[in-house]
Subunit: 267 residues, 4 copies
């Protein structure tokens, strides 16, 4: 039977590097290749199956010369290397960088869920994207949700001013890489946080659109930005059951289920 | 700026149900809707934004009449319900069912990572798929990896007979739903396990292809099947460093990094 | 300032082994040592600090000769080895074994949350214990919770017949190791499951006591057994809010918060 | 058979609160009670079994009046409340507070693994403790590990200047609660970070001792402090296998196994 889409690679390759002049980089890399490997699937012929162990070693080997805070350029170097094999048609490299807050010349505090993301595809098709994951933001006022349709399963009250929290996942496409990818990433991250904190929003959807619009306005090289914005609900706790009046301060944060909002803003 | 693709819904809705004649069902549901909600994003107009809380309630409300082991049909009922709203163009429902081993009439043992998956899309576009996640399989012999290309970063030895382990994620598309979706799911699952255990394979890719081919041969309604097969490496531990000979029995299972293999088999 | 209690070791050492006659073992080991290492803390003198890397290597090195399904005896071998260093006073070894269901001579299905546990302490103080973790059980009938005290924060209805689910963690102490530790472990596990399924219980506490009593009755070498039994609540979903009658079948399983019950049964 | 130690309670109760003058609190609470509940275990008599659901409700009910950043005092209020039941002998309350960085009057960034911990026990026995969890710190220089004993399983090279990373868990006991528990907690946290960053250490043990000594010197009310310090290894990657020289910059961070160091410093 015919083989359809396929790719192979290495995931969760963890690399850290001390940059003598410039701090500390801590990344997790995924490489996925596509190419002339049909016979590997159908006949067990591994002639063109670059071992995933080799991919891992290549990442470490090239990190010594090429890994800096500019993770997009390291991804570019990796893609280029894998494409030197003529049986590789497309190379995809995704990098997630951990956040370390520098405290002293050699000391850092970590533990943040925030990740800087770079995703490059080169070869048979090409794309250049960056992103952020695990950017957790919350505001105690400045968001609403009202005027929505109701049916017999609707019991949600209208909210004119509610607490809003989410863990932002955003991915944006670059028409071309900006000169300083770290500076640009920092600007996008700051724009996302500022707009979340400062813009009044009528819904998670509205909040996301305003954030996306602002990012596109701030960075010329970005052609579109996509969001996943899970609504990390903090629910009023029903104290009336105990003969108490809820005074608007105590909430019940719930891990599941959660509202799940996806949107893209383009030019 | 223009709004691009978007959808909204509820994730991680956990529902369990005692079926008086037929055991116990324990599922987690995700609903995602697409429709006429542009103004919600750009202008904060929620007129067509069915609350995700309402989606949650709808799932429980309809579960009482409609939820059985045939999770595809429950997904169908949910999609149909959400499409009764004329502003909803497409409804996607994904269901993951936990595995409970029945021990007595009312008693069950759980704790398996295995999930039965159903994914239906209805409305503006349509698809019907089922799958399995977290199906962890291992064989101590019957797999190899040799004849692969080598470069200066290749140190992996050829393996003529190696231990192979993976956590199978498979998704298959149905041309039409089989009469008994549970019986079919059980047959696919059994086919995957049997082929993994019994077929000699030259690589993870080869193993996956053989499994996919067998599933397509076994079930007429399936048009294609896609796999993600992470290679859960068990590495020989280098005892030579301590002056010992490795006798082929002791391994070091590593969680990261892992070989990551994706493939699709079609008709 | 004085140094108080201290210990050092290696955690999460993963080892697997193919037993040519007898299947497959897959364990995670923790070693913790206590001894004459005060100066290491106060003065940075590492003279007696056996490296944790050496502990790791020792586990693999001794696994080749000594690791079998009888994990208590492997723990005994490891403790003995570490105590050959005269500066080590006490060695603690904990082992958690994964559950693999044998399907063919060389093939296994895994993915269970269930772990077989062994915990040995040797040297300055001694104890021998075994246990189970992640044994998830559920019964749809045969448990109650009524007759409890009420105050102004109590809204829980009395339940004369409720669904009960938990993930059993149990640890039992051996006066002496039984001849066949695997056979004994299997008997304890079966006793726990059977009593959970078959005994009517008035509460989680009552259920746990009945299970503990039965284990002590079944195995002479066990002197006491301790449980942690989180109540994995499946709550009736309040359909009355939608004008529906709850027919007793649909539940909302909640991950948090959970009732948390600890108890020990002794002789 | 005799019942041994036992307790019951509620875990993972999540509560958040907007403090109109003073920001945002986000905690997870565990309550465990001990008391006259033997017959509940042996005879199914729930007369004295305060429902864990009532404990949950009590936490929310009392949070409205009593929850502030001073989580130790909220724990005190909760203990006091549960001890008003004459069948409760001992009440233990543990609180873990999430870290939210205030950005604007109403806006916060979260996502840190760091937790502020309070643990109070009142009634039959009493203790008052605070702590920190998930404080991830790393320094690229300023730590060593040399002069350790060697045996045939020792291959670790001596390190005169190594990268050191850990996720600090520390718990300290208070002779009496300081006047401002938040200010004291901040001081302890700052002391831990400063000493980690600034003190040269000969081992994780040495590093922990220096940190503990400094905390005891800084806060009179603290009688002792205990640490768990997992060594989050960043290993030199062996580039010599590819004919390269390792220049001391590229590391392989490994999640497992890890060195596991426990110590207590007292007065």
């Amino acid at each position: 039977m015919p083989l359809g889409d396929n790719r192979w690679g290495k995931s969760e390759v963890r690399v850290s590097k001390v940059l003598p002049e410039d701090g500390f980089v801590d990344i997790t890399v995924q490489v996925l290749l596509e190419g002339d490997v049909g016979p590997a699937h159908t006949d067990g012929d591994n002639m063109n199956v670059l071992p995933t162990d080799t991919m891992r070693n290549t990442i470490y080997g090239l990190a010594q010369e090429h890994l800096t805070h500019d993770v997009e350029r390291f991804a570019e170097v990796l893609c280029g290397r894998f494409l030197t094999n003529d049986y590789v048609e497309t190379a995809s490299v995704s990098i997630e960088g951990a956040t370390w807050q520098r405290e002293t010349e050699t000391g850092y505090v970590g533990g943040s869920s925030q990740r800087r993301v770079a995703r490059l595809v080169r070869g048979g098709r090409e794309s250049t994207a960056a992103g952020v994951k695990g950017l957790v933001v919350l505001k105690t006022r400045g968001s609403a949700f009202e005027g929505f349709p109701r049916d017999e399963f609707t019991i949600l009250p209208e909210a004119t001013d509610r607490l809003l929290a989410t863990s932002v996942t955003a991915d944006w496409s670059y028409a071309s890489l900006p000169a300083d990818t770290t500076e640009t990433w920092d600007l996008v991250r700051k724009t996302l946080v500022d707009r979340f904190m400062e813009d009044w929003s009528a819904s998670v959807q509205h909040q996301g659109y305003l954030m996306g619009e602002a990012v596109l306005a701030a960075v010329d090289e970005i052609t579109e930005i996509s969001f996943r914005l899970p609504n990390q609900h903090h629910l009023p706790y029903d104290l009336a059951r105990f003969g108490m009046d809820w005074d608007g301060t105590v909430f019940h944060p719930v891990s599941e289920p959660y509202g799940d909002i996806y949107l893209t803003v383009t030019r």
